[in-house]
């Protein structure tokens, strides 16, 4: 039988332009830098060979960033790139996945995309136990018109500190403007403290322009064990090789109705309410108040300033990063993932309990302050273990849950809120009539009117 003639083919591979100038548009500058720190953490995790038990497994590992309008550098002591991985490390995309290590990097694009986003040229130096080398991204190589893909690599003298250094001596114009701006620098530091807060808590250290960053993690009001009072909703389970934890509670006392009214007129507070999602100790979503985390769905009310005290997190931990519900940018969720939907169900349960609490005490918020004073703020990840210690097992096994404990007001004579609006000059007239002066608070005027009428009504016996 005659051999079949191969048909014509056309080139279906990538172009340089796609990687160096298109892909970079998918990610914000700040997130690109967070990707670089993620790589440092992944390096430390590999060094630890997955031994991440204990309070501070990352102690001794650091990443140090320097940025200014003149250039950028990130250096770490997280082991560098071993000789066996050099080729893969500089490919655009990962040929195979490193299972058994709880990283979140899967796609093998973060470091390269960050370099393309930030600089006009770059040097990557690796100092590992089995050798040291430097790879250079030249201006020519980074030219979108240049179809040359080979990168120059050379051996360099090894150093005692094993790690990776990325040096970007010339920045893109728009990046230089941001790196020279202290507001951008402050925002970046805040983002690092939030995104890597749980890793910093576990011993990893990040310096940005010589400032050692503090962790910013979720703190909730909570009593221990079965005590009566404010206690968050807490759930944990293992599903398909992923450990899931959901905790929802209050990080501040209830929002008073006057505060809600005030917020409608002008911004008062930075919003810190909402649900955060953490994957392998990295923050993927911060203080979300959308349907992604269950607000406005499954019987939960949509977010409203009344719920300004409610916060929580969903934590996913696994040795198999493919199972994490995250997108390629590592800063967003793949909300369609089954594991995420599973966790979201419990988040909805927690939100419902907390929202119901705010509704029950509506108009009497001040009366709940004693409960909040009694239940001190605690670090939600390290100091609240309610499901693990006191939770009831889930039907079918695989997890434990402890519902929130939130006091309810006595039902015999519940408080009701009276709310209405009147013209300013009318309120002033009544205020002068009642108090002899124009008092600042319309609420005070309304309350005095009611109290006087109540007294009269009682006196007249009607």
């Amino acid at each position: 039988m005659a051999e079949e003639e191969p048909g014509e083919t056309i080139w279906g591979g990538p172009t340089k332009r796609f990687f160096v100038s298109m892909l970079t548009r998918d990610i914000e500058l700040k997130d690109a830098i967070l990707d670089l720190i993620d790589n440092c953490v992944d390096g430390a995790t590999r060094q630890l060979k997955g031994k991440l038990k204990g309070e501070k497994p990352y102690e001794g590992y650091w990443a140090r960033l320097s940025l200014s309008a003149e250039g950028f550098e990130i250096a770490d002591n997280c082991g560098g790139i071993p000789e066996s991985s050099i080729k893969d490390a500089f490919l655009l995309g990962r040929p195979k996945l490193d299972h058994k290590i709880p990283t979140i990097g899967m796609y093998g694009i973060g470091m390269k995309r960050a370099i393309f986003k930030i600089g006009e040229e770059a040097f990557v130096q690796s100092f590992s136990i089995d050798g040291a080398f430097e790879v250079e991204y030249t201006r020519d190589w980074l030219d979108p018109e240049n179809d040359e893909w080979d990168l120059p690599i050379s051996e360099v003298a090894n150093k005692k500190t094993k790690g990776l250094t990325i040096l970007i001596p010339s920045l893109r114009k728009e990046v230089a403007k941001k790196f020279g701006n202290s507001s951008f620098e402050n925002d970046l530091k805040t983002a690092v403290s939030e995104h890597f807060g749980y890793l910093i808590q576990r011993g990893f250290v990040v310096y940005v322009n010589d400032e050692k960053l503090r962790s910013r993690t979720l703190h909730l009001h909570g009593l221990d064990g079965q005590q009566e009072g404010i206690r968050p909703f807490d759930f944990e389970a293992v599903r398909d090789g992923v450990h899931v934890r959901v905790t929802v509670g209050f990080f501040r006392p209830l929002t008073k109705m006057e505060e809600v009214d005030e917020e409608a007129e002008r911004p008062v507070e930075k919003r810190e309410a909402g649900i955060s999602v953490i994957c392998n100790d990295r923050l993927v979503l911060l203080n979300d108040v959308s349907m992604k985390t269950g607000w406005g769905d499954g019987g939960v009310a949509r977010y409203h300033p009344q719920f300004r005290g409610i916060a929580g997190f969903i934590i996913f931990s696994t040795d198999n990063p493919e199972k994490l519900p995250i997108s390629t940018t590592k800063r967003d969720l793949d909300v369609g993932e089954e594991i995420f939907l599973f966790a979201r169900q419990y988040c909805i349960e927690g939100l419902k309990e907390c929202i119901a609490f705010t509704n029950k005490w509506k108009g009497m918020e001040e009366e709940t302050e004693k409960f909040f004073s009694a239940a001190k703020l605690k670090d939600a990840r390290t100091e609240i273990h309610l499901a693990a210690k006191h939770g009831i097992p889930l039907r079918g096994g695989g997890g434990k849950k402890l519902n929130a404990s939130l006091p309810v007001p006595a039902q015999r004579n519940p408080m009701r809120r009276i709310s209405f609006a009147r013209k300013e000059d009318a309120i002033k007239t009544v205020s002068v009539h009642l108090f002899g002066e124009d008092v600042d608070s319309p609420k005070q005027v309304g309350e005095e009117c009611f109290d006087r009428m109540l007294k009269t009504a009682k006196k007249e016996g009607r």
């Binding site: 403007k177 941001k178 701006n181 202290s182 507001s183 951008f184 402050n186 925002d187 530091k189 805040t190 403290s193 400032e211 960053l213 503090r214 002008r266 911004p267 008062v268 507070e269 930075k270 810190e272 004073s373 001190k376 703020l377």
Partner: protein, 330 residues
């Protein structure tokens, strides 16, 4: 009673602060001329600032706003000229109205905008300031007064059970209000550090605005803190195009005694409330040191010698601006 009701002889430091501002303007305006400027501020019911801008600086294009219609009616009654425009809206609307205000004074190219806040609604004030800044152009001047009173973070002892100390509690509260503008390095704020902390927050606000200002720079030219009971911080900025041929602020402005060189360079105004007789006695010794001035008084104008020397030094520094009007029986 609002601060507006308190006569200036009882709040000399506010008065001095405004006089220093007017002197700063007199040194900045000649670059483009007072005819180029529109003066925009809340003004208060008596439009004192507008009177000063008109009579002292020669600015004829005057604009005031207040959310209270009755206050605006009173401003109209008190306006220095019939051309001054007084309108009713809140400070949150100002940024959105600047183009319209410019169009009302067609021949003017520049703005002096003063947001003179008294309350501690910091989040809205910072946002409004940024929104206003990003609308400004080369040669404009922006000024903001902020409440710098630590008592706005709650009563003494409120920090217990909530933070490790009062300083940490204040910073946490400030972060909950304007977190994006508070430098990450700040861990606590001591009793006397609020004006300096707010100045650093303003620095981040300005830098954040600059990212949206197409290459324009915002330079702090006068930073003052004063207290007539409530500590305040006032910051004045010049908006400049670094590539413009017309240098703004002019090079020689830096030589002015009170010009701020950086964000830490804050002038503290803490002159005492003085009777005319006391003022005359101090003026006789003004060329001498604070110690000699105090000896000349034979009493302490503040609580204790150290505080008295401090207020007398402040009087010595700013006596040129001290209010001279008094009730006749003083």
């Amino acid at each position: 009673m609002s601060a507006d009701d308190i006569p200036y002889q009882l709040r000399p430091n506010k008065f001095i602060d405004r006089q220093i501002f007017l002197e700063a303007m007199s040194r900045l305006l000649p670059v483009r001329g007072p005819e180029s400027y529109i003066y925009v501020s809340m003004g208060g019911r008596h439009l004192m600032d507008h009177h000063a801008a008109y009579y002292t600086l020669g600015i004829q294009a005057l604009y005031s706003f207040d959310k209270d219609a009755n206050e605006v009616a009173r401003q109209k009654f008190n306006r220095p000229t019939g051309k001054a425009i007084c309108e009713a809206f809140s400070s949150s609307e100002l940024a959105g109205r600047l183009d319209e205000i410019m169009s009302r004074f067609r021949s003017r190219q520049n703005l002096i905008v003063w947001l003179d806040y008294t309350s501690a609604d910091r989040r809205s004030q910072f946002q409004e300031s940024k929104q206003t800044l990003v609308k400004l152009k080369h040669g404009d001047i922006f000024r903001v007064t902020l409440n710098a009173d630590i008592r706005t973070f709650g009563a003494k002892g409120e920090w217990r059970d909530k933070a490790v100390g009062p300083g940490e509690y204040r910073i946490a509260k400030l972060r909950s209000q304007i977190g994006e503008f508070v430098p990450t390095i700040f861990e606590r704020m001591r009793d006397d550090e609020f004006p300096a902390t707010l100045s650093q927050c303003l620095k981040l606000l300005v830098e954040s605005a600059q990212l949206e200002m197409n290459g324009l720079t915002v330079l702090p030219i006068l930073l003052t803190t004063y207290s007539d009971g409530t500590p305040m911080l006032t910051a004045t900025f010049a908006i400049a195009d670094p590539v413009s041929e017309q240098r703004f602020p002019p090079e020689k402005f830096k030589r002015w005694k009170f010009a701020s060189r950086n964000w830490e360079d804050i002038r503290s105004i803490s002159s005492p409330v003085l009777s005319l007789r006391e003022q005359y006695r101090l003026d006789q010794n003004i060329h001498r040191g604070a110690q000699r001035m105090l000896a000349g008084l034979k009493f302490e104008p503040a609580v204790g010698e150290e505080a008295s020397l401090q207020v007398l030094q402040s009087y010595k520094d700013y006596h040129r601006y001290y209010p001279n009007f008094r009730p006749i029986e003083d």
